[in-house]
């Protein structure tokens, strides 16, 4: 048990913080600590969690991606237009088109990064501007409201009224989110390719000496994020029942903050799916709780920003205290 806590320190710290916040909120409000609210939370966090597990894979491989959220917006438009041409389509064709378009946009990032040795932050800031600029230019900022019915109808997979009168609902976004989370978890912890990604992010030169295909690693990591961005984009369109070109603008930094809060390291080699999901949940639970507690919605972001700032400061201070000690041990000469 102790070893599990040690090796998953970030995850346990997040769980502890979530527990404390939940406790405070359940005392402060009588609506927070209900099953119905928990499911609401899952429904509303589904898209961010899908984005987050995709971004996690890129961070593990030692890269960063700023462009995925606007790429998801591009995917929404492309999918909506293609579905229009096809005369409707359905969930299967929609997911295939969205996923495929997302993979292509991600692969373009990987192409720039691998082929021309442009570091990922530079390449993806460039594609962020390209994707968003072209999207706004071609759509003239116009939203799409007449989406196919299958896309806008809520799909409730399971519902039940609880004793306290609240409703439990498991909707399609949650199902898709769970599938994406499990797929990512299997991919990065249970397949050889996933472990190669960790190794590549941890020590690129060492990975190269083992003959790991560096180009393939970039395409797989950014392709996976592209896939998740595409799926997430479609689900967001379903959830919002409309496609707005700048709806996801700025989401990339929120997701990045959540993923890194969940223990992923900028620079590669470290990060877990569980931590990543907890990172997103911590933020949405706080937001949800503040909402229920009647705090002005304008104060949410301020409080969340402050929480992340304090969390980062504390977690790094603890490491810093340990580090000089470890460093002396490591470099006794």
């Amino acid at each position: 048990m102790r070893r599990i806590i040690q090796s998953h320190a970030t995850e346990f710290a997040l769980l502890a913080v979530i527990a404390v916040i939940s406790f405070v909120l359940s005392v402060a409000t009588n609506t927070f600590f209900t099953v119905g609210n928990a499911f609401d939370l899952l429904n509303s966090s589904a898209v961010n969690i899908i984005f987050a597990v995709g971004l996690l894979v890129v961070l593990i491989a030692g890269g960063i991606d700023i462009s995925f959220a606007v790429a998801a917006s591009v995917v929404q438009y492309v999918t909506a237009i293609l579905l229009g041409w096809m005369g409707g389509g359905g969930w299967l064709s929609g997911l295939l088109i969205a996923g495929g378009a997302g993979v292509l946009l991600g692969a373009f990032n990987a192409f720039l990064i691998h082929k021309f040795r442009i570091i990922s932050i530079v390449a993806t800031i460039a594609t962020f501007n390209i994707y968003f600029g072209l999207l706004m230019f071609f759509t003239r900022g116009v939203s799409i409201y007449n989406l196919p019915d299958w896309l806008t109808d809520r799909v409730i997979l399971y519902e039940r009224e609880m004793a306290d009168g609240s409703w439990i609902e498991i909707t399609l976004p949650v199902l898709v989110m769970v599938i994406c989370v499990i797929a990512t978890w299997i991919f990065i912890t249970r397949t050889t390719t996933g472990r190669q990604l960790y190794a590549f992010g941890d020590n690129p030169e060492g990975a190269r000496r083992f003959g790991i295909n560096i180009g393939a690693m970039q395409f797989i990591a950014f392709g996976w994020l592209g896939l998740m961005a595409g799926i997430g984009g479609l689900i967001q369109a379903h959830y919002a029942q409309e496609v707005v070109p700048n709806a996801l603008y700025g989401r990339e930094l929120d997701v990045l903050a959540a993923v890194v809060l969940g223990g992923a390291r900028l620079g590669g080699g470290r990060g877990s799916v569980l931590g990543c999901v907890l990172g997103v949940l911590l933020i949405s639970i706080t937001q949800n709780g503040l909402n229920l507690a009647g705090v002005s919605p304008f104060a949410f972001k301020m409080i969340i920003g402050a929480i992340i700032l304090v969390a980062i400061t504390l977690s790094n201070t603890r490491l810093e205290r340990l580090l000089p000690f470890m460093r002396q041990q490591g470099s006794r000469g």
Binding site: I66, L112, F116, R117, I118, I119, I121, V122, A123, I125, A126, T127, F128, N129, I130, Y131, F132, G133, L134, L135, M136, F137, G141, G250, L253, D254, L256, A257, V260, L266, S296, F298, A299, F300, K301, M302, I303, I304, G305, A306, I308, L309, I312, T313, S315, N316, T317, E320
Partner: protein, 331 residues
């Protein structure tokens, strides 16, 4: 004579090739396709649009040189603008006097500096990643600003501050003059002061710099504080230009400032880069959007073209190093 050439070369630096070439290409291209391009109107629009983005880019530049990033620049500028607006509002709004404005500016700069100071302290003492620290500061400031303004605008300022946003001296817009003045200060700071020297050294290897007897924490804190001050200046200019303050104004500039720095040859890992090439890169970006505007395109297409330009410059740099590599192999 040789010495002068050397001096000029040292002033421009090797980073100048990319933006210099892009500047030439943009001027030649647009003057060929659009006869109105080389005109006072183009100059005017560039001159008035350059300063906001430019000042924010200067604020982004210093942290990048140390190997970091400051994602809080736009909201720091907003908060500084709000501070000034608050002082003006509580001293009579449109009837506030110059003294109130002066105090407002000082407090605004203080607010910007405070934002930078907190980030600098956290980064220097905890070694948390600057992207994270500034990202959470950005969220905090955005929230704070929205909380204070309830998402609305604050407007109604005295008339005498408008020249700061719209006036001209000897045909040159006042904001442009302020921006050029700040560019020169940054240039001198980076090339002629110990702080600048240490900024570059830290960007390349912070531990070796510390072993050389440099107070690296102090440098990091100062760098982020100065970055915050520059944001505040940008915030005051925005207040004067729009005669209002809205939280979220200039938000879209955030990643453009990073783009401008990279286009200007700043090393993304820190340690190398100069102010003047970044200044030229900023002019290129504005010329591009003005030129596209003349051809009937909007700012969004310009944004996309900015991204394409960055990719093109990075590919050319890559090709140039490849070419050198092959030449060395043959020789």
């Amino acid at each position: 004579m040789m010495r002068l050439v050397d001096r000029v070369r040292a002033f421009l630096g090797p980073e100048m090739a990319g933006p210099g070439f892009a500047l030439l290409a943009v001027i030649v291209f647009f003057s060929l396709v659009s006869p109105q391009f080389l005109s006072r109107a183009t100059f005017g629009s560039v001159a008035f649009q350059l300063p906001e983005l430019g000042l924010l880019t200067l604020a982004m530049l210093l942290p990048i040189l140390t190997g970091g990033l400051n994602l809080a620049i736009t909201f720091t500028a907003n908060i500084a603008g709000l501070t000034a607006a608050w002082v003006l509002k509580s001293n009579g709004g449109a009837d506030a006097g110059p003294l109130a404005f002066l105090i407002g500016c000082l407090l605004a700069i203080g607010a910007g500096a405070a934002s930078g100071l907190v980030m600098g302290l956290v980064i220097a003492y905890t070694r948390a990643h600057p992207i994270l620290v500034s990202l959470s500061m950005m969220m905090f400031l955005r929230g704070l600003g929205e909380f204070l303004t309830r998402g609305g605008d604050i407007s109604g300022f005295p008339v005498f501050i408008q020249p700061l946003g719209h006036g001209s001296i000897l045909g040159l817009p006042v904001p442009l003059l302020i921006f050029i003045f700040c560019v020169l200060i940054w240039h001198v700071l980076l090339s002629r002061t110990q702080l600048g020297f240490n900024t570059y050294m830290i960007g390349s290897n912070i531990e070796a710099t510390r072993y050389s007897g440099i107070n690296t924490r102090r440098v990091i804190v100062l760098v982020y504080t100065l970055s915050g001050v520059m944001c505040a200046i940008a915030g005051i200019i925005m207040l004067a230009r729009f005669n209002s303050v809205r939280v979220g104004h200039g938000e879209s500039y955030l990643l453009i400032t990073v783009l401008a720095c990279f286009l200007g040859g700043i090393n993304p890992f820190g340690g190398f880069g100069r102010v003047i090439p970044v200044f030229v890169a900023l002019i290129v970006l504005q010329l591009l959007s003005s030129g596209l505007n003349l051809m009937g395109a909007n700012q969004h297409l310009a944004t996309a073209v900015w991204g394409i330009l960055l990719v093109a410059v990075m590919i050319l740099r890559f090709a140039a190093t490849r070419f050198q590599f092959f030449k060395r192999k043959e020789g």
